[in-house]
Amino acid sequence: MSGNVKASSLRGILAGRNAHIWRLVLVMVGWMAFMALTKYEKFYTLINFQTMASQFPEFGLMALGVMLCMITGGIDLSPVGVANLTAILMAFLLKALVGPEGGLPGYAIPLVFLLGALTGCLLGALNGLLVSKVRIPPILATLGMSELLAGVAIVLTNGNAVSKLPVDYALTINSRIGGLIPVQLVIFSVMAMLIWFLLSRTTYGTKIYLLGTNARAAQYSGLNNGRLLVKTYMLSGACAALGGLIMLANYNSARANYGGVYVLQCVLIVVLGGVSPTGGRGRISGVVLAIFLLRMLETGINRFPQISSYYISLIWGGVLLLVMVLDYLTNRGTRPGHGKSKAPGASAA
């Protein structure tokens, strides 16, 4: 099979350095156009976009953490465990802080966010130590942590939901800044900007991309792999914890088994966003696009009452497979060693 493809200009763009991003944009624009043609009045309303913007941050934040871990060549399967445990602990804290009239003191919400993020960092650091010091493969270490944290959460709550929370918390997080922008979106945006900055403007970003490309060479270049991994899993833990705090507000309760589908969904988002499962490659813009895309697909489908919302799972898996196959087709013959030994590549020259 010769890789002698006559590149038309569109194809050129789609195969270039930003190929993946462009493909996602294309799918997204296609879907938005489809929604505009079919359900314009129901989809293109301010309230619809506001609702979406308050829904995606909970799993969007977790996906950002998974992305960071995947860039280092690992994976984090524990975000939901971290999120639920954090939410449960903070729900206890909120109940303890509530005043005699049922109100919360002014410092309560900032305190909950601070302690919640710290909890996330701590749990993430445990993941990081298991991966970097004990050298358990990340998929297993975080899988075990996920199970363990879920177990602790069940034991703490007897498997029940922690509810009857002070209303102030949910009200605050569910409010809109200037009556327009949901607080959840603000939290997500702040984290996304922070991670973008870390990845593109700091040495930490360059280091984790290189670590994910070749951990051995990173060690030989004087990088502190262990510390980088611990930092990364801590950051992922913090993202997951913030996701948990948003879930706490969105459901107005906390429970050990909330958001069970999010684990695999996050991995799916991250891969769909163009992050290489073997590490070293991937950008936050792709992941954020994938998060938007998922939410828009799901919300869009819900606008068709005759279609079961369960189809979203089918579409989602289908899109992932499609993107993978497209990647395979465009990279065949140009990237050596990616596919089969049959593909001739640079190693032959």
């Binding site: 270490a141 899988l143 979203i312 089918l314 993978m324 089969k340």
Partner: protein, 344 residues
């Protein structure tokens, strides 16, 4: 003999066997209820479905891949089979349901196998995607709901037993389901395939070094394809058996099992990077998880502690073996034995 002993201590199985034994003895001493006929039969019967899943998962991990789609695959095929037969008013024996399940399982497995074997896409991502697709087909296209009744043939199969064990102390009785025979024969067939066919040796070879396997003359693409077909068939069989044993089909209650199954297989000494592991170890690891999930209640530990134990077990078990590997590599100076180790 000494040499044989030395080899034995290098393997993983004896250790995991000792852990299982220690746990069993602990439960026995605390409750006196472990080595009773009915508890052992209960455990054997609880092993059937996870055991079937574990065999498939083991073979996939052995080849250097991973499969997270088998619960969705099993749910979809068992639901489709049961629903189809119910709608047709089928009243015959168990053979037709098994046949239908197996063919559906093979078809869906082929779907995985095509992407992983022939296109060479990463197994984790592919099976994540197909898992999502299978769920979507089941819940969206087939509009699945809980099926409270199942065809009489399946019902009969689920209730038929090989023998009944009773506990003279508590008066409890437990049935050994016929399905256990199915599990045992699948185990035997898998063992024979892995040990005595070149398809099976190919799985080991691919897990060890895929490029070498190709050069040695293994048809690596076809081997991987067939592997996922076989695994799909085993998963669908497990799904059907579960439906029969529970006397109903609940479309979603198998979802989420994948993590514990993978954990059991890895605890049994199967390297997540592929190439090494044994069926014995895989079964012992799965047994350990099953005992923790089923028997902790016997020593007065409430079921809510289950996940804590399973999680701790995964971390400690994989931690110990990871640490051993790390130490061994340091001592043995294995400088030129570098395999590209996939990190996830």
């Amino acid at each position: 003999m000494n040499k044989g002993l030395k080899k034995l201590t290098k393997r993983n199985e004896p250790y995991i066997f000792l852990v299982v034994l220690a746990l069993a003895l602990l439960i026995q001493f605390r409750s006196g209820q472990f080595f009773t006929g009915n508890n052992l039969v209960d455990i054997a019967s609880a092993m059937v479905v996870p055991g079937l899943f574990a065999v498939g998962t083991f073979m996939v991990i052995l080849s250097g891949g991973i499969d997270v789609s088998f619960p969705a695959l099993a749910s979809l095929t068992s639901y489709a089979t049961t629903k189809m037969l119910l709608d047709a008013g089928y009243t015959g024996g168990i053979w037709l349901p098994i046949l239908i399940s197996l063919s559906l399982g093979a078809a869906l497995g082929a779907f995985n196998g095509y992407f992983i074997g022939f296109l060479g896409l990463p197994a984790l991502i592919v099976t994540l995607g197909t898992s999502s697709v299978f769920k979507g087909v089941m819940q969206g296209a087939l509009n699945s709901v809980q099926l409270a009744t199942i065809p009489p043939g399946m019902q009969a199969f689920g209730t038929s037993s090989l023998f009944v064990a009773s506990n003279p102390l508590s008066g409890l009785t437990s049935r050994m389901p016929v399905a256990f025979l199915v599990f045992a024969s699948v185990l035997l067939v898998s063992f024979l395939i892995l040990r005595y066919t070149f398809l099976g040796r190919g799985i080991y070879a691919i897990g060890g070094n895929e490029v070498s396997a190709h050069r040695a003359g293994f048809n690596t693409r076809r081997t991987k394809f067939l592997l996922y077909v076989f695994v799909g068939m085993m998963a669908s069989l497990a799904g059907l058996i579960r439906t029969c044993m529970m006397q109903q089909n609940h479309p979603t209650n198998m979802l989420g099992m994948e993590m514990n199954i993978i954990a059991g297989v890895v605890l049994g000494g199967t390297a997540i990077t592929g190439g090494t592991g044994s069926l014995t170890g895989c079964m012992l690891g799965t047994l350990l998880i099953v005992i923790v999930e089923n028997s902790m209640i016997l020593i007065g530990i409430p079921t809510i502690w289950k996940s804590v134990f399973v999680g701790a077990l995964i971390i400690i078990g994989t931690g110990v073996s990871a640490w051993q590997v790390f130490r061994a590599n340091r001592v043995a100076k294995v400088r030129f034995f570098r395999k590209e180790v996939p990190t996830i």
